[in-house]
């Protein structure tokens, strides 16, 4: 590792250690701290903090998986298996868990059990078929381990490292260090290209940076992996909005609302898009939906009042403004609007 890189990691490790010390009961911090320790090679200390995270939140999936990966790194196969088996029992259709167990069994020479798990991984997530084929481990429904496949096998359990780069990338992005964040997130996506969240995070950082076409590309990659990732469509809509390409913005926001019908904010944004295109009927509909979800959504109510005013529906406009003044009685703008139509 280059010294400059090393110092970034060390600085973040120190920060998280301090935070974990201040907030010892935050499972998230314990998990992050343990992950950083693990990548630094401090396996025993990492184990202590993963276990602490799990004591605080026994259902914390990320910490469970990280601990299993740690044990696999430490070649404590039995321990890793003990963690993964109950998880797979809880989530029998989780392809990733079957995949990890398959890898564990392959590493320990239990090919028969590995085959069962890999078959299940493929059954629940078709992506794994291509994955094993590409690695040369899967041919005609059975496992093949030649020299090339053996070599590939040694590199397969890289998930915690991908998580690590993802975490570092997000941490740097929070500090506004976007260029460094992009480097880390690219590493994460490179290690685990099928993980939609890495592409989504990369897209978000490009979006913050103002690199819109790269952001669009990454969100589209994320959506290809997980087409039900509604916020990905919303982010694409915001990016097209920034580019003043409202036709595309509208298309993506409609999709985002369709996938997340309970998000008042998305209905509000969709209403703005309809309103801008003078599709007032649809704008009314979306604003009312936003208000049904969150009756205190002030901006939606202001927009609704203004729309009623446009339609010369004074009574309805007054009703909306009065509702707003019940929440914010000192809102001079609304007072003025109400006075004008009273």
């Amino acid at each position: 590792m280059k010294p400059r890189r090393r110092s970034i990691y060390q600085r973040i490790l120190d920060e998280i250690e301090k935070e974990a010390h201040i907030h010892p009961n935050y499972a998230d911090l314990q998990n992050q701290f343990a992950l950083l320790l693990m990548v630094e090679g401090e396996m025993e200390r990492a184990e202590v903090h993963f276990l602490k995270a799990l004591r605080l939140n026994p259902k914390y999936r990320e910490a469970i998986l990280n601990l299993a990966f740690l044990y696999m790194e430490m070649r404590r196969w039995k321990k890793a298996e003990e963690i993964l088996l109950p998880e797979v029992k809880r989530n029998p259709r989780d392809g990733f868990l079957h995949h990890v167990l398959g890898i564990l069994y392959l590493q320990t020479g239990r090919q028969k059990e590995a085959t069962v798990r890999i078959r299940k991984a493929i059954q629940y997530h078709s992506h794994y078929q291509d994955y094993y084929k590409k690695k040369g481990m899967w041919q005609r429904g059975t496992i093949h381990l030649d020299q090339k496949a053996e070599k590939a096998l040694k590199k397969v359990h890289l998930d915690p490292y991908a998580q690590f780069h993802n975490f570092i990338g997000l941490n740097l992005a929070q500090k506004g260090k976007f260029a460094q964040a992009v480097k880390e997130l690219k590493k994460a996506a490179g290690l685990k290209p099928d993980e939609f969240i890495f592409h989504a995070n990369l897209g978000t950082v490009y979006y913050y940076q103002g690199a819109y076409s790269k952001a669009i590309q990454e969100f589209q990659k994320a959506l290809k992996i997980d087409p039900l990732y509604g916020m990905g469509y919303a982010n694409l809509s915001y990016i097209y909005g920034l580019m003043s390409r409202t036709q595309e913005a509208l298309r993506y926001m409609e999709k985002a609302v369709q996938l997340n019908p309970r998000y008042a904010d998305l209905h509000y944004n969709l209403a703005l898009l309809y309103n801008d295109r003078k599709q007032y009927k649809k704008a009314f509909f979306e604003l009312k939906k936003a208000l049904r979800i969150n009756p205190h959504y002030l901006f939606a109510r202001i927009n609704l009042g203004v729309l009623y005013e446009d339609q010369k529906k004074w009574k309805e406009a007054r009703r909306e403004y009065k509702k707003i003044l019940r929440i914010t009685p000192n809102d001079e703008h609304i007072q003025k609007r109400l006075k004008r139509i009273s």
Partner: protein, 107 residues
């Protein structure tokens, strides 16, 4: 021609996420070019070495600069801040204590 509200809204969203302002504590909306910002204005992280006066000065400066930036967005005709911990009076930002509901009820 007025810039579309959605475009303004998207610009504000990006502007806020690029700062250290705690966006989970504020809401924003755009109504025919008028931008509304409501909620509690605070930072997601602060420098522990700062005393309360320095932190207040920095927050006030951030509010001035935020308002300036928002007004520079094409199509924005006004910016209305409805913050419960900061108030602008005669062109100056003042920190105001948040009165909790229970305290209010007691008086």
């Amino acid at each position: 021609m007025l810039k579309e509200d959605f475009v303004i809204q998207a610009n504000i969203r990006q502007m806020l996420t690029r700062t250290e302002i705690n966006v989970s504590q504020i809401e924003f909306g755009t109504v025919r070019g008028v931008v509304y910002i409501r909620g509690t204005f605070q930072f997601s992280r602060s420098d522990p070495s700062w005393d309360s006066d320095k932190a207040k000065d920095f927050t006030a400066q951030t509010l001035y600069s935020l308002e300036k930036k928002i007004r520079r967005i094409e199509g924005v005709s006004d910016v209305i801040f409805q913050l419960n911990n900061w108030r602008k009076e005669k062109g100056h930002w003042f920190h105001v204590k948040i009165i909790k509901r229970e305290e209010k009820n007691e008086t």
